[in-house]
């Protein structure tokens, strides 16, 4: 039983990261209908930025807050320069462009910081809370708390603020939004910045565990995409639940099914994506899928 709980806790810890990146993907998808395959790379980049600020002597918390803010601006810039021109193009074009962004960001990170793994400083104190024979590390608690805080803040933003209302309106109906005076392009830009920041939170909190290198977010991206698909591409709540669920399932499968071990864990999201698409294409909590005519 101890092993079981230990695996579940490890699953929640990594699942929180998946959920954060999945939230970023969902926000962009919901507000622009665009899936940013470079979301993981943007998060990776943010983690490097945080690393850099810390290396320049800033405290870790200050470094990560600055990195998140920087990412907000960078995210808006990326939207304006790279994605806005293809916003209304075919899906294929958009996917290809985000892959170009993927490769570009990856290489720029490699160019600046190299391809050697870098150790990222611990954000939370070492140690764990012992409950019976199960140890819950402060890092696990911390990451989970960060996820809840982000999800809560996001919920409040969408439900109780004017910009949140505008973001939802733009996501659903650009024309009506324009006609009530919403500056649609600016809202999309802010949405992008926000999503990038959320991804940044995921990347930064993943960094102490995964170590820093330009490829650190590659598998996280797959898990996050699986979470977004599983939870429902337009459902932030779905993304959170699915991210945690996938984190837990992946750890249990890796821990209990010897054949899977640590290398084949990656097949878990693949199976989940496939299963979702075949049996419930709109995802767990997504709105019913309406094919475009």
């Amino acid at each position: 039983m101890t092993k079981f709980f230990q695996l579940v806790i490890a699953g929640i810890e990594i699942g929180s990261i998946y959920a954060l990146v999945a939230l970023a993907i969902v926000i962009i998808y919901a507000s622009t209908g665009l899936k940013n395959l470079a979301q993981g790379e943007m998060a990776m980049f943010s983690a490097f930025i945080a690393y850099q600020f810390h290396a320049w002597g800033l405290g870790i918390w200050l470094a990560l807050i600055l990195a998140i803010l920087t990412t907000f601006v960078l995210g808006m810039g990326v939207q304006q320069v790279v994605l806005k021109p293809v916003q209304d193009s075919s899906l294929l074009t958009v996917v290809i462009v985000t892959l170009g962004l993927f490769l570009g960001l990856n290489s720029v990170a490699g160019f600046i910081w190299g391809y050697m793994m870098l150790a990222f400083p611990a954000i939370f104190p070492e140690g764990a809370v012992e409950i019976g024979s199960v140890g819950i590390s402060y890092a696990a608690i911390g990451v989970f708390a960060v996820l809840l805080a982000c999800a809560g803040a996001l919920f409040a933003l969408f439900q109780f603020t004017k910009i949140g209302l505008a973001m939802r309106a733009v996501a659903y109906n650009k024309e009506t939004s324009m006609l009530v005076g919403v500056q649609v392009n600016r809202v999309i830009m802010v949405g992008f910045g926000l999503a990038a920041s959320l991804g940044a939170v995921g990347g930064i909190f993943a960094a102490p565990k995964l170590f820093l290198d330009p490829f650190m977010m590659l598998t996280v991206l797959i898990y996050a995409l699986a979470s977004a698909a599983f939870g429902g591409l337009d459902s932030p709540l779905g993304a959170v639940i699915a991210g945690l669920f996938i984190g837990v399932i992946e750890n249990l499968a890796g821990g209990y099914i010897g054949f899977i071990g640590s290398d084949l864990k990656i097949v878990v999201p693949l199976v989940i994506i496939l299963g979702t698409l075949l049996f419930r294409p709109q995802g767990l909590l997504g709105r019913k899928y309406i094919p475009r005519v």
């Binding site: 004017k162 209302l165 505008a166 939802r168 309106a169 659903y172 109906n173 024309e175 009506t176 939004s177 324009m178 006609l179 009530v180 005076g181 919403v182 500056q183 649609v184 709105r287």
Partner: protein, 236 residues
Amino acid sequence: MSLLEVNNLVAGYGMVQVLNGISLSVEEGEVAVVLGANGAGKTTTLRALTGMIKTSGSVLFEGEEMVGKKTDQIVRHRIAHVPQGRGTVAQMDVDENLELGAYIRSDKAGIAADKQKMFELFPRLAERRKQAAGSLSGGEQQMLAIARALMMSPRLLLLDEPSLGLAPLIIRSVFDTLQQINTEFGTTMLVVEQNANLALGIAKSAFVLETGDIVAGGSAAQIAADDTIRKAYLGI
């Protein structure tokens, strides 16, 4: 000076020119209608007025030039536009749609009061406050669209075929409500319609649009009485 003065307005889609330089004006406080058959360019006219398509010519609103401005800037002059086919956010509920309608305002108290007014004007919406707009009946959606537009407390209300797809009885009540809004709140309206009889019934002035040109204009009574116009353009 008129509230809205349109001069030689040219607009279209891509290479296709739809409006060939139309001119019309709307006086403060009145209801004006633009009549025309399918494809005459009625929708295009309204879209041009709110900067949703490429436009040239002149649109003076309260003496200020609107051509060349972006939609959200034009809307901020408190020009409300109810597009053809409703223009509510289907996935949001009635309350949220009304909130959205007041997006450009920041007077919280005024917004709350106006919302209350809307619920008095459209009691059916009050009963359905938490229902998604998309799940309302056609008539209710049209009412919501009008209410949403009124929430910005507009200086000018543009309505694109409010009768479209509604049963005769409902159309009647929509037009009665429009008239009521005009008399009670003094809201200036420019209504685009195919249903000439009804529209002329509530309008003070009228324009007839035919493939991108205004072919007749004058007081609503005058247009309604003109047999040649009725036969040639309005089919009544």
